[in-house]
């Protein structure tokens, strides 16, 4: 385990928040894409 | 001499073609009445001819600064008097006789009233009087007779006839008979087909 010393909170906090933000963005991107793909396929099958 | 020539015009509203393949020309002294069911694109066509929006395809040939456009909104300020309203537009369009225009639409008695005090029909008449002071040869009118009574309609028809007599032209979308000696163009056969066209009319259509 890497020793972070007295700044452990700051370092872990920064990594945690940043990765959470990136994860949220990636999730939102993929979810929106999947939805658009699904709806478009549905439309193309019907019409 | 032709004041307006339209060749194979297609116009779009909200990214969808409404009418297409329209060609006509208007010479001095002529008027053209546009007919067609609601939503077919009469207003869009008129706005395109007035230069407020670009055509999807086709050409519009006319002299620069030739159009006087009048639509549902009259461009009047309630806080100004009738004379001030007309005087402003006369100055902007470099035009003329305010008193004469007021008289032509029978508004001379109200000249110093604020426009806010007018009834809907009177406002409409003031909006049409603006056409006279703009001194433009080509009038592009969108349902000009809304909220006018019978007497005012005939007065308006006289005004248009006078304009045509002085070498002007008029393109009018209306459903009532103005008693003008004018050609009628029914837009129904020109309704745009749903089939994909060579050039997208709007943003989304570029992806269809």
């Amino acid at each position: 385990m890497i020793e972070l010393g007295k700044y452990a909170g700051a370092v872990l906090g920064a990594y945690g928040v940043s990765l959470a933000l990136l994860g949220g963005l990636i999730w939102q991107t993929l979810a929106a894409n999947a939805r658009a793909r699904r709806e478009l396929e549905k439309q193309e099958r019907h019409g | 001499m032709s004041l307006l020539a339209v060749h194979d015009l297609a116009v779009a509203r909200g990214g969808l073609r409404t009418v297409e393949g329209i060609s006509f020309s208007l010479a001095a002294g002529q008027a053209l009445i546009l007919r067609g069911p609601n939503g077919i694109g009469k207003t869009t066509l008129l706005r395109t001819v007035a230069g407020l929006q670009p055509p999807v395809t086709g050409r519009i040939e006319m002299a620069e600064d030739a159009v006087a456009y009048a639509a549902h909104a009259d461009g009047l300020k309630g806080a100004l008097t009738l004379t001030e309203n007309l005087h402003f537009w006369a100055q902007v369009f470099g035009g003329g006789d305010v008193a004469g225009a007021l008289a032509a639409m029978d508004l001379a008695a109200l000249a110093d009233r604020p426009a806010a005090a007018l009834s809907a029909g009177q406002k409409r008449r003031l909006g049409l009087a603006r056409l006279v002071v703009s001194r433009r040869p080509l009038w592009v009118l969108d349902e000009p007779t809304v909220s006018l009574d019978a007497a005012s309609v005939s007065r308006f028809a006289d005004m248009v006839r006078g304009h045509l007599g002085q070498g002007g032209a008029a393109l009018i979308a209306t459903h009532i008979d103005l008693g003008l000696d004018a050609r009628v163009l029914d837009l129904t056969p020109f309704r745009a087909r749903a089939a994909p066209a060579a050039r997208p009319a709007g943003f989304n259509e570029a992806f269809a």
Binding site: - | A50, K77, L80, F88, V92
Partner: protein, 218 residues
């Protein structure tokens, strides 16, 4: 163009509140600040320049959406666009009318409000110069924001969101100039920057605003 300016000014007077409202808002803001931070000179003096500029900025913002919205509603904007006036010129004239009705009264009132906020008299010349040079840019940028948001249903909030970031450079140099004037320092640098920004804005933004207006009209 002069006809348009005259009409807009006349409308601002007739409609009531055109001239007075911005100044009244400015007064209220300057009157409320001491309640927030306390009446001491030591508390008020350092922030006086900032409050005055922020007050001017917000007062200017209040009336921005009226620059084009009313003309858009009653169809005047369509008619102006088909008139022989170049739309860029019409935009500039409307921004000028906005400046005369809101910017100019603010500048006249600012020294009085400066006294309320204990701004030292030595700083009043730089207060006036900075407002005189800066507020035209505020009106012109505001006209751009108003042109972008003119057809939108909830344009007011968006307008502030778009316009306020554009005000940052003017705000920075304006307050800096007063602060330097207050301390008796050299005000030439912020003055030049302020004048430069305003000149650039007045020269270029009308084109962007007219382009946005054409998009919104079609």
């Amino acid at each position: 163009m002069i006809a348009l300016l005259k009409r807009d000014l006349r409308l601002a007077i007739r409609a009531g509140g055109g001239f007075g409202l911005g100044v009244a808002f400015f007064l209220i803001l300057c009157a409320l600040v001491p309640f927030g931070v306390g009446p001491d000179t030591s508390a008020l003096q350092p922030i006086a320049a900032g409050i005055l500029w922020l007050g001017a900025l917000l007062a200017c913002l209040l009336s921005l959406d009226r620059i084009f919205a009313l003309d858009h509603e009653d169809g005047s904007l369509d008619l102006l666009a088909t008139s022989p006036l170049p739309l860029e010129g019409a935009v500039a004239v409307k921004a000028l009318a906005h400046w005369i009705t809101t910017g100019l009264p603010l500048i006249v009132a600012a020294p009085l409000f400066g006294i309320l906020l204990h701004l030292p008299t030595a700083a009043i010349p730089s207060l006036l110069t900075s407002l005189l040079l800066g507020t035209p840019a505020l009106s012109m940028l505001g006209a751009f924001g108003a042109a972008v948001t003119v057809g939108l249903r909830r344009g007011g909030l968006l307008l502030s969101l778009l316009v306020l970031p554009l005000y940052i450079p003017t705000l920075i140099f304006g307050t800096e100039m007063i602060r330097r004037g207050q301390e008796g320092g050299a005000t030439a640098t912020p003055l030049l920057f302020l004048a430069g920004i305003t000149a650039g804005v007045l020269a270029l933004v009308p084109f962007a605003a007219a382009a946005a207006l054409r998009v919104n009209l079609r």
